[in-house]
Subunit: 402 residues, 2 copies
């Protein structure tokens, strides 16, 4: 249970909390004397919230640790990712909208291409497009082995997810992806005796699945990565007393939200304005809204400084629609840093802004940016304290002790 | 044991430390662009210490958690209040100066008024004044039941404390206060089997006590809250090597100080100058002085911004008398924030000032206030690190490792 001490302090409230996560928000200047992406972006709406609210910076996992997206989001949601190890398969399967329950084992699949000797020639099956791979996934979906139920779903292009359901399954199994070409896929091997039966079942499934797709021109084989059981994470309703909604475009983020008990919202479009509209549509039914913006991270990964600036500005432009809903608390932050300069996630602290309609302590900062946040009134805090601060500013926590 | 690593580092010293706690010191601006209570107050003497010393801000319990006074003080004294759960009854009894020892069970009592059917009509017995209730407490003090010893002492007005001493007593017992009128007081019910005998003994005592005061016009019944055993906290002398004195007007703070082994000082008056005089009187006999100013908190709770400003100024005005004693280390802080704007305790970080006659690292700040503290040289630290910093600045800790 994250932050065990919170549970006894929760008090009912009508207040609404928005957690707006711009993935990979934190950046670096391209030149030593330059500005970061966020510092460069014109963000008058966020700056207003920065002036009225309080800034700070978060450490996603531990100082110096560069987080993956899954652990970084778990941290924002209040679950120490060092304590809660959630397998990538679990994130992928739930993210793809699959029914994934305690006792199931999920895994990510990649289509690959093998030659006549069974050696991998392309680890991503020529980046086969979704329009083609959907038919290959249909073949996999028909594969069945005795004693367990298996489901398969396309994620995107060469990626799919598999969920196995049955008695006594455990997910402590090594990846079958050898991570290079010129070799054969590995068999599924258990790393713990209690997972040996499950590994054997997956090997049976792999054998039949390979037969089923052997004639495919590109996707004639597969590898499996990130075997995982349901981590059994405590749910938002129980931990925080919040009816929580997830508004995210990308499957992974829907997945991790779902694992903590958020209701994933369906909506059309992929722009910030579309996402805020989805928040508006669900406004009356929930207390907490997690809104995820993916493209800040994608632009950072692409080394596209200006593109990342533009995405941040487009979020700022759409922000008034969110504020028109009269939220009680708005948090704007990232899950980690993805500086365009590094073209990758990084360990740098993440800008954090908390604004409350009633209880904000304004600090000396008036712009939302990395260096302003480092000087902010909250100081440098673990990302796992985000939810405690959100609940406090929303009037949802009573006093600890008399 | 708090901060286990300190014990082996302690070195003897003649140095004197003063921990001056203005209860609920932290505040908020009433208007978005305004100043806080502390920022508004004219505090030339504290500002001088701020300029010479180092500022910072503390998190009393955890980010977002609003502390009660007991846990907040434990934290300042170096005991993580999440790890050390001290019952309110223990604080009240020791605060009232009762002899409370390991194995005893203490509880807070409230006089109430019941009608002819035994239903509560006033939970505070018409806020009966102490001059009247002292006589009712005398009746309670004469009540005895077989096998245990009970003592009763008036706290104030309708409040008193009871201590029961005997074999095998345990304090895991629910309150008998139903928290509303129109119903009868509840019986004492154990929440753990090991406390069942104690609950039964308290029920016997309650029955006899009610008989003894049944004829009273207002205080004709009672409720009990916060049953507690002695938490067995390690003492200041053992943990820090300090002979510690408590100078406080209010019982609760005397109580919590006593539980950590401080000697509670008796003195006349209730103004800051009176308290500093009490420090002066005890100066030669102690190494550490905890001085508690209550009214900053009371004014905050009353929503009296100007009143809180005035109390802070009165402390500042009296401060030279304290500095004339030539302390080696002075810490000025609060136990938590009590913004007049909120009329309650809050979770906001607490201003912290440490001044040392020899070892201060002056930061860039020259005024004592929330926003200066957020920019201070100590950064944002847990309140539980207060004592380590005090000892270090007092030259009372040797090097860790070679």
């Amino acid at each position: 249970m994250p932050k065990e001490y919170l549970k006894d302090l929760l008090i009912p409230s009508e207040s609404k909390i928005v957690l707006l996560v711009m993935d990979g928000l934190g950046g670096l200047p391209m030149e030593a004397d330059g500005k970061t992406e966020l510092e460069t972006a014109k963000t008058p709406n966020m700056d207003k919230l920065a002036a009225e609210g309080t800034l700070g910076q978060t450490i996603p996992i531990r100082p110096g640790i560069t987080p993956g997206s899954g652990p970084a989001h778990l941290a924002l949601f209040g679950y120490d990712p060092i304590a809660y190890d959630v397998g990538r398969g679990a994130l992928e399967a739930t993210g793809a909208g699959m029914d994934f329950q305690p006792g199931d084992v999920a895994v990510r699949g990649n289509f690959c291409t093998v030659d006549e000797n069974g050696l991998i020639t392309d680890r991503r099956a020529g980046r086969i497009p979704s329009e083609e791979s959907i038919h290959v996934v249909e073949k996999l979906a028909k594969v069945s082995i005795p004693g367990v139920e298996t489901k398969v779903k396309l994620v995107k292009e060469y990626r799919f997810a598999v969920v196995m359901r049955g008695e006594g399954l455990h997910g402590e199994i090594d990846d079958t992806d050898p991570q290079r070409t010129g070799v054969a896929p590995l068999p599924a091997v258990a790393t713990d005796p209690n997972s040996e039966k499950t590994a054997e079942l997956f090997n049976q499934w792999i054998a039949k699945a390979r037969e089923a797709i052997a004639d495919e021109p590109k996707a004639n084989c597969l590898t499996l990565r990130g075997f995982a059981s349901d981590p059994g994470l405590p749910k938002y309703k129980d931990v925080y007393g919040l009816r929580a909604a997830c508004v995210a475009v990308y499957p992974m983020y829907r997945g991790v939200s779902n694992l903590v008990g958020m209701d994933v919202q369906s909506f059309a479009g992929e722009y910030p304005a579309d996402e805020f509209k989805a928040v508006a549509n669900a406004w009356d039914d929930y207390d907490f809204f997690f809104v995820h913006i993916k493209k800040t991270d994608s632009m950072g990964e692409d080394g596209n400084f200006d593109g990342k600036v533009h995405i941040i500005e487009s979020v700022d432009e759409a922000l008034p629609a969110l504020m028109d809903l009269n939220p009680d608390v708005v948090i704007i932050t990232g899950d980690h840093s993805t500086p365009a300069k590094m073209r990758s996630h990084s360990w740098h602290p993440v800008p954090f802004l908390i604004w409350s309609s009633q209880y904000s302590m304004p600090d000396t900062q008036t712009h939302f940016g990395e260096r302003a946040c480092a000087q902010g009134g909250l100081g440098t805090i673990p990302a796992t304290d985000t939810m405690s601060l959100a609940l406090a500013h929303a009037g949802r926590l009573q006093k600890y002790g008399a």
